[in-house]
């Protein structure tokens, strides 16, 4: 399958297979006024299968969101058909308003104007806890 290469923009590569759509939604890429391609289940020597997102425009990416969802991804910056920069993200120490505390006893459950702040308390296992009540965030 061919997807046209991009002249100026961003390629988010090495996304764990199936994570592409989550990143697309979290970064609100559907709201951009340019072409955005999500390639899912692409063959990868390193990963077996991977997802790739190509954005046909230079935009500011929220690296905290990317680092939270998938810290193994690679970001490639393309200018005039040439990759001019390549970098990796890491799990952010603190994330704000990306996930919500599910503890009904947490102050954020009754004062909803408060920022939802989570702190990385275990880097190795990528565990985040609510800054207010310290409840572990469980994606399930």
């Amino acid at each position: 399958m061919n997807i046209d290469s991009i002249k100026n923009g961003i390629v988010i590569d090495h996304i764990k297979a199936k994570n592409g759509l989550e990143i697309f939604n979290a970064l609100k890429l559907g709201e951009l006024d340019c072409s955005v391609a999500i390639i899912t289940n692409a063959k990868s020597k390193k990963m077996g299968r991977k997802d790739i997102i190509k954005i046909d425009k230079s935009i500011d990416l929220d690296l905290d969101i990317l680092g939270y969802i998938d810290e193994d991804i690679t970001i490639n910056i393309i200018k005039d058909d040439i990759r001019v920069d390549k970098y990796h993200v890491e799990a952010p120490k603190e994330i704000v308003n990306i996930i919500k505390c599910k503890n009904p006893r947490c102050i954020t459950s009754s004062e909803q104007e408060l920022d939802q702040i989570f702190v990385l308390t275990d880097k190795e296992n990528k565990k985040y806890r609510c800054k207010y009540c310290e409840t572990l965030y469980n994606q399930n």
Partner: protein, 304 residues
């Protein structure tokens, strides 16, 4: 400006310093009787409490200060829908220091972000209760003359019992501390404390559901109440509330210098027949609570 939201806000040196000041207050109360002259403590209790609120108020009065506040959310502007931050900013205009209790976990942290005066967390839901921990530490020090080399049994509700959570965190900083965690399966200590505090600091601990099997090795036995207000389900509360009752019979194999503690109020988890046993320290513990709060108020107000 410092706040006390979590016992982890204090270093071990600061805790030792507070204990030193509290001991000095006990020895020389007159020296401290005017230290807080013209200072006001606001006690904001969004959730009912007798002991903690009165302890704070007595502490401030014995320092020569004054007290304002409320003792339930229904008598505060929260009933009108005011946010914690707004209440705190308002009360900060009337007082020099605030002690607050709130049913929602993290509320004192929210308060401290916007406050213009020091905030003391006097309990936030099942989360933290750092001044109870300071009380417990002073009690252990007064009763055992040390805070290291101790085997501490924690018994009862270790899941929702915030006093237990803070005490485990604080005692884990001292040398050669061992914990015996005694609870029914449903009320075991949360994973985050096991992973984040006990295992992280290589603290030796065992989990059991029997007081009898473990009492002989304990230096401290910390009993807790199964709290009705922490349960969503009345049936679960009724099933678990009488799981442990400490009586003379169970104390038969205990050490002669065991120190029995309880954050109070007690319901029936310690039989009243134990009260006259010299090892029962829980009413002395109440008294120590006032002294350590006096030391804390002085520290946060930066009064020498």
């Amino acid at each position: 400006m410092r706040h006390l939201i979590d016992i982890k806000d204090l270093s071990i040196q600061e805790i030792d310093e507070l204990i030193k000041v509290a001991n000095d207050i006990i020895a020389h109360p007159d020296k401290y009787s005017e230290k807080c002259h013209n200072k006001k403590l606001a006690t904001l209790f969004f959730e009912p409490s007798t002991r903690t609120r009165l302890s704070f108020e007595a502490a401030m009065m014995e320092l020569g200060g004054n007290v304002i506040g409320f003792s339930s959310a229904s008598s505060s502007s929260t009933a009108k829908g005011e946010s914690v931050s707004d209440t705190i900013r308002t009360v900060g205009c009337y007082s020099d220091i605030i002690a607050m209790r709130h049913p929602k976990e993290g509320a004192p942290l929210v308060a401290s972000i916007k406050s213009t005066v020091p905030i003391i967390n006097a309990g936030d839901g099942g989360h933290n209760h750092p001044t109870q921990t300071l009380t417990d530490l002073l009690t252990i020090y007064r009763e055992k003359q040390r805070l290291d080399n101790l085997t501490i049994g924690l018994c009862g509700d270790l899941k929702f019992g915030r006093t237990v959570h803070s005490l485990v965190t604080a005692m884990s900083q001292y040398k050669n501390i061992k914990f015996v965690l005694i609870s029914p399966e449903e009320l075991k200590i949360p994973e985050y404390l096991k992973e984040g505090v006990l295992e992280k600091n290589n603290i030796e601990y065992i989990q059991t559901d029997s007081i009898e099997d473990s009492i002989a090795k304990l230096d401290i036995l910390y009993m807790t109440r199964v709290q009705r207000e922490r349960f969503f389900n009345e049936e679960d509360y009724l099933r678990l509330k009488d799981y442990y009752i400490l009586d003379k019979e169970k104390l038969k194999n205990a050490k002669d210098d065991l120190c029995i503690m309880h954050p109070l109020p007690r319901v029936n988890e310690i039989s009243t027949e134990v009260d006259d046993d010299p090892r029962a320290a829980y009413f002395r513990q109440v008294r120590y609570g006032k002294y350590i709060r006096m030391a804390l108020i002085l520290k946060l107000l930066e009064i020498e």
